[in-house]
């Protein structure tokens, strides 16, 4: 269901303290998202590409992930230039293409790719469980962190239960169609899933109580610092400062 194809690796990026990676990916995304100047946006995408190459990820897998956002971008290129702004830039037949529309589309495209690439290279190279602990170290409220970790742990169990129920239904000759019987069956299935999820959460809570849980979670993870940390910190700080400087002066 959830696979983490990028989490295991031994590149320079993988060796950097995950806290720094999350922190800088977030800062970088904010600055990129708020920028409008093209030099800044081109700088952003260049930096993202550099980080991406440093992470040594499987390019094809990354391209496949980017394809998701590409769909949106194509849609934006189809709609914005012909609907946004008044002054015509050029004409395709009788349709006028506006300059502000083209500029906005280009900005959105550059921003989305830059942010996505940075996140893929910096954050999706962290395994999910580590990410949870990183977030708690970065003072994200514990409830949210554990909601995330528990969801990650049990989404698989719930999926298994769902496929088991569906299989059982299919084995008794259920084939989905466009009729009330199908809708009812699916409604029962989902309802059953909710009931089971609630019962399971009760049992998990009981199991936690039995092991001395008193409402506080402790973490055994520690993060070590290395020279790669300094490299990333310095590099990203400079990049972000330059971007801010270019944009707002």
């Amino acid at each position: 269901m959830i696979c983490e194809p990028f989490a295991n690796g031994n590149s320079l990026i993988h060796r950097i303290d995950p806290r720094l990676r999350v922190l800088f990916a977030t800062l970088f995304s904010f600055v990129t998202a708020l920028s409008r100047q093209f030099p800044v946006l081109f700088a952003a995408i260049t930096v993202s590409l550099v980080i991406f190459f440093l992470a040594g990820l499987n390019s094809w897998a990354v391209v496949k992930r980017l394809a998701v956002i590409s769909g949106f971008n194509i849609l934006i290129w189809m709609i914005l230039p012909v609907t946004f702004g008044k002054e015509p830039f050029f004409y395709i037949g009788s349709i006028s293409v506006s300059m502000p529309g083209v500029i906005l589309s280009a900005q959105i495209t550059l921003k989305s790719y830059a942010i996505l690439l940075a996140f893929i290279s910096l954050v999706s190279t962290i395994s999910f469980s580590t990410l949870g602990h990183v977030l708690s170290r970065l003072y994200i409220p514990e409830r949210i962190v554990y909601l995330l970790l528990m969801a990650y742990r049990y989404v698989f169990v719930i999926e298994q239960e769902y496929s088991r129920l569906l299989k059982a239904a299919k084995l008794r000759g259920f084939c989905p169609g466009t009729n009330l019987h199908t809708y009812r069956t699916y409604a029962y299935l989902v309802g059953m899933l909710f009931v089971r999820a609630i019962m399971r959460s009760d049992r998990v809570h009981q199991a936690m109580l039995c092991r001395g849980f008193c409402g506080k979670f402790y973490s055994i993870n520690r993060f070590s610092s290395s020279r790669a940390d300094w490299f990333l910190s310095l590099f990203m700080t400079v990049v972000i400062f330059v971007m801010v400087f270019l944009e707002w002066t």
Binding site: V157, R200, R203, Q206, R211, G212, N221, R222
Partner: protein, 233 residues
């Protein structure tokens, strides 16, 4: 160690699952518990752990009367309950984190907790499992890791709820070996009389809300030699 007197439990007063049940567990006893589905075996464990409250009766654990939630906190630290479904017990992303959860709750430092966890895993033959992802383990591995999470708290008593369901013969005999080598009192719920005969001294049957000694099996039990080189984790 555990003393239950006149314990009754049911979801309505007309149909009682446990009806004035009396039960005692002495130090060093190993007890097997059988009974038909829905006869209240799991409920009995949950009453001992304070997860459900009995309608009436008296419950003494380690010679202390326990009634309220706060009375059960120390009880839960000394009694380990192994759940029927290992997926309920293993909720952390990695095995090490899950095994260390108990010791950390007991107030151990991070280093101590990791050391205890690694030792426990090694004792159960699970060396090298620390960084494995819990939901990717096989059924047998999950069961043994669950046992590790319970043993890591160094309990005085173990309550095992159908520990053999879904296990192959190899894992079953591994579990048996582990149990016989533990210097602990325990109660095992199981439908597998063979397994109980090999791992326990007395077998009780839970029927109509009461326990009774299965005497017909009793003579049988002691014909099996016990392994005596006991070890604690």
């Amino acid at each position: 160690m555990i003393d239950l007197k006149d314990i009754s439990f049911g979801y309505s007063s007309e149909s009682l699952i446990l009806n004035k049940l009396n039960f005692k567990l002495f130090k060093g006893s190993r007890i097997g518990l059988t009974g038909s589905n829905g006869s209240g075996k799991t409920t009995l464990f949950h009453i001992i752990m304070g997860l459900v409250k009995p309608l009436s009766g008296r419950l003494k654990i380690f010679d202390r009367q326990v009634n309220e939630e706060k009375d059960f906190l120390p009880v839960r630290r000394k009694i380990g309950l192994l759940f029927q479904d290992a997926d309920d017990q293993l909720f952390s992303p990695t095995v090490l984190e899950d095994v260390a959860f108990g010791p950390l709750n007991l107030g151990k430092t991070r280093e101590e907790a990791i050391e205890i966890s690694l030792k426990t895993l090694e004792y159960l033959g699970l060396k090298g499992f620390e960084e494995k992802i819990t939901f990717k383990l096989s059924g047998g591995e999950k069961r043994l890791v669950s046992l590790a999470t319970v043993l890591a708290m160094k309990p005085k008593i173990l309550l095992l709820d159908e520990p053999t369901t879904g296990l192959d013969d190899k894992t079953k005999s591994r579990l048996m070996e582990v149990l016989l080598n533990l210097d602990l009192s325990y109660i095992i719920i199981s439908h597998e009389i063979d397994f109980l005969l090999k791992t326990t001294d007395h077998i009780y049957a839970l029927k109509n809300g009461k326990t009774s000694l299965k005497t017909d099996l009793h003579t049988h039990i002691h014909s099996h030699p016990h392994i005596n080189h006991k070890r604690t984790v």
